[in-house]
């Protein structure tokens, strides 16, 4: 927001930049009145989780619904400042993740009641901050289905799982996956490790090697590096959040995919309708809402036992119909 009769150097520069950008935007898009949207991420946009938000935002931009800009690699301590900068610059919707800056970020939301905030958070929405809606990747439905496939593909019945940190969004997917495995392999055992970092692929790889040495023949690849270890040792892996099969065609059977599009569309619709409020958008990641899916088997077409595939298809239909519920368990999983 630029106010006052004495333009500062920054405001002149900003308006200059804004004019240039406006000149570049085709008239057709302007007519659709895109919402000014900003993404603020604590990791690079390559990171699996954030990449799903980024892709959905770029798609919305291509569709003319938003005017999207983003900041990546923002430190948690710097997060509130970046939020304020975008708010001051006139952004109307901020999407991001405040897992590491919950309290401070919520204070900023309260300071800018005219801006809509759609933020990934471990906590729930707060009626006192009506312009903050929360979301999370509740893709346990898809994780469950990949578990069914993994259980059918393991010969040793020993499955390795490497995670970053045991936070709710990681734990619930691991538990759903394990529940899925038990459908096809009731006697399965699991090795679970957390590497204490989101971005240390060499460490994730070493941890996976250790599990493979201990007998794992299917890896649940929550982190980059795990599928590499599986590939090097010639065993199988299940991807998470993004489809990693193109990079590991002989290794990754399938992946549990997160689709952020329904979440973003719901938020944009709510803003357009003037009904954006303190809601939990987590449900928009559920399979019934189209927020997650199991990736196509691709290179593993025909290599997965038909009974398992039939069971996965049946469960998927039941989940979509609402007759089967995957348990949401946020506790830290342990090796067993």
């Amino acid at each position: 927001m630029i106010t006052g009769f004495h333009p500062t150097r920054r405001s002149v520069l900003l308006s200059g930049a804004a004019l240039t950008v406006t000149g570049l935007v085709p008239a057709r898009v302007l007519a659709a009145d895109p919402i000014k949207m900003a993404g603020i991420y604590t990791v690079p946009v390559e990171q699996q989780w954030v990449s799903r938000i980024h892709i959905a935002a770029e798609a919305a931009q291509a569709a003319g619904r938003v005017d999207y800009s983003f900041s990546e690699n923002v430190a948690n301590t710097d997060y509130p400042r970046v939020m304020r900068e975008y708010c001051e610059a006139g952004v109307k919707l901020i999407v991001g993740e405040i897992f590491g800056a919950e309290a401070e970020a919520r204070e900023v939301c309260a300071e800018y009641p005219d801006v809509a905030f759609l933020l990934g958070s471990s906590f729930k929405q707060d009626a006192a901050i009506p312009n903050l809606a929360v979301f999370d990747n509740y893709i346990q439905d898809a994780s469950y289905l990949t578990g069914i496939i993994a259980g059918a593909m393991t010969t040793s019945g020993n499955i390795g799982m490497v995670g970053g940190f045991p936070i709710p969004e990681v734990n619930r997917l691991m538990h759903a996956f394990m529940d899925g495995v038990r459908e096809t392999r009731p006697d399965a055992t699991f090795q679970v490790s957390f590497i204490g970092s989101w971005f240390d692929p060499p460490k994730a790889k070493e941890t996976a090697f250790a599990m493979i040495d201990a007998g794992a023949d299917v890896m649940y690849a929550e982190r980059f590096g795990v599928s590499d270890a599986a590939k090097e040792r010639g065993i199988l892996a299940i991807g998470n959040v993004i489809d990693t099969q193109p990079d590991y065609p002989e290794t990754v059977i399938t992946s549990a995919l997160w689709h952020f599009e329904p979440t973003l569309t719901a938020a944009l619709d709510a803003i357009a309708a003037g009904s954006f409020g303190a809601d939990d958008y987590g449900v928009w990641s559920f399979m019934a809402k189209g927020g997650c899916s199991m990736a196509a088997l691709g290179t593993f077409d025909g290599k997965v036992p038909a009974e398992a595939l039939a069971l996965a298809t049946q469960r998927e239909a039941e989940i979509r119909a609402g007759t089967f519920n995957v348990t949401i368990n946020d506790d830290e999983p342990k090796s067993l």
């Binding site: 957390f194 204490g196 060499p202 070493e206 040495d213 201990a214 980059f224 993004i242 342990k334 090796s335």
Partner: protein, 315 residues
Amino acid sequence: MMALVDILISASFWAAAIRIASPLIFATLGELICERAGVLNLGIEGIMVMGAFTGWFAVYQGMPLWGGVAVAFGSGMLFGLLHATLTVPFGLSQHVVGLGVTLLATATASFAYRLALPQVTSPPRIDPFQPFAVPVLSDIPFLGPALFTQTALTYAAFGMAVVVGLVLYRTPLGLAVRAVGENPAAAAAQGLSVTGLRMGAVMFGSGLMAVGGAFLTLSAFSSFFFDMVNGRGWICIALVVFGAWRPGKAVLGAVLFAAFDAGQVRLQQTEIGAILPYQVFLALPFVLSIIALIVMSRRAEVPAALMVPYNKGER
């Protein structure tokens, strides 16, 4: 307890320890050379990030793997030159300059990565160094799979340790480097250029640090991530102290630390793993290293002129 023995007698555990130790060996040797010449190089963490990026990017642009290693070495030398210029002839605080170099190199690597690859959604990959089984040697039971089925860059790390040891203790150049780190005035009286030797040592050492970083993207993994060095540089500073400024002991320290690390991921899968929180295991290598450091450093001989700038003619 039996689980621990099982881990220790498995070749795959020792193979993992050697693998994890390799980047640490390169960077520790690099830091050791700097410090033996009297310069503490806290730029190590950032220089490793820079090496990880430049080495990987060169290969991604089509250079051969060894070309990537050379590019990483060169980029490390450039940041070494910056560090050395500020700390040696200008005599500025080595702590401040070192941390500054780390911040600059880390930020530059991130910035260059995003400039070069603005649109990627999944980090691009290269074909990294593959494990190479040394003929005959790799057939030795236990030792073969543990030591002789590593990647070429791992063999290079151990080869470099031998070279650094030989040069430091068996050549006039090594004597000169050690002399400027112990008593620069005496070295200068012998007609040696303290400035030249120190700057050269810092540049070469920084090159090795960058190769240590490049190991992560060219051998341990196949793509570059902003935070992937993840504190390994700081570990190497401690390893130099642990090794009492001697290359052989420093390599031993790196392997020991790596063995603790390889051991903790395996211990997590035993009965104890089900009882103790995973954080205890992650902290284990650091706790054990601190204990080892206390024991080892009691007889360490610190280079006498470490962190003491030398001004010609000053008494």
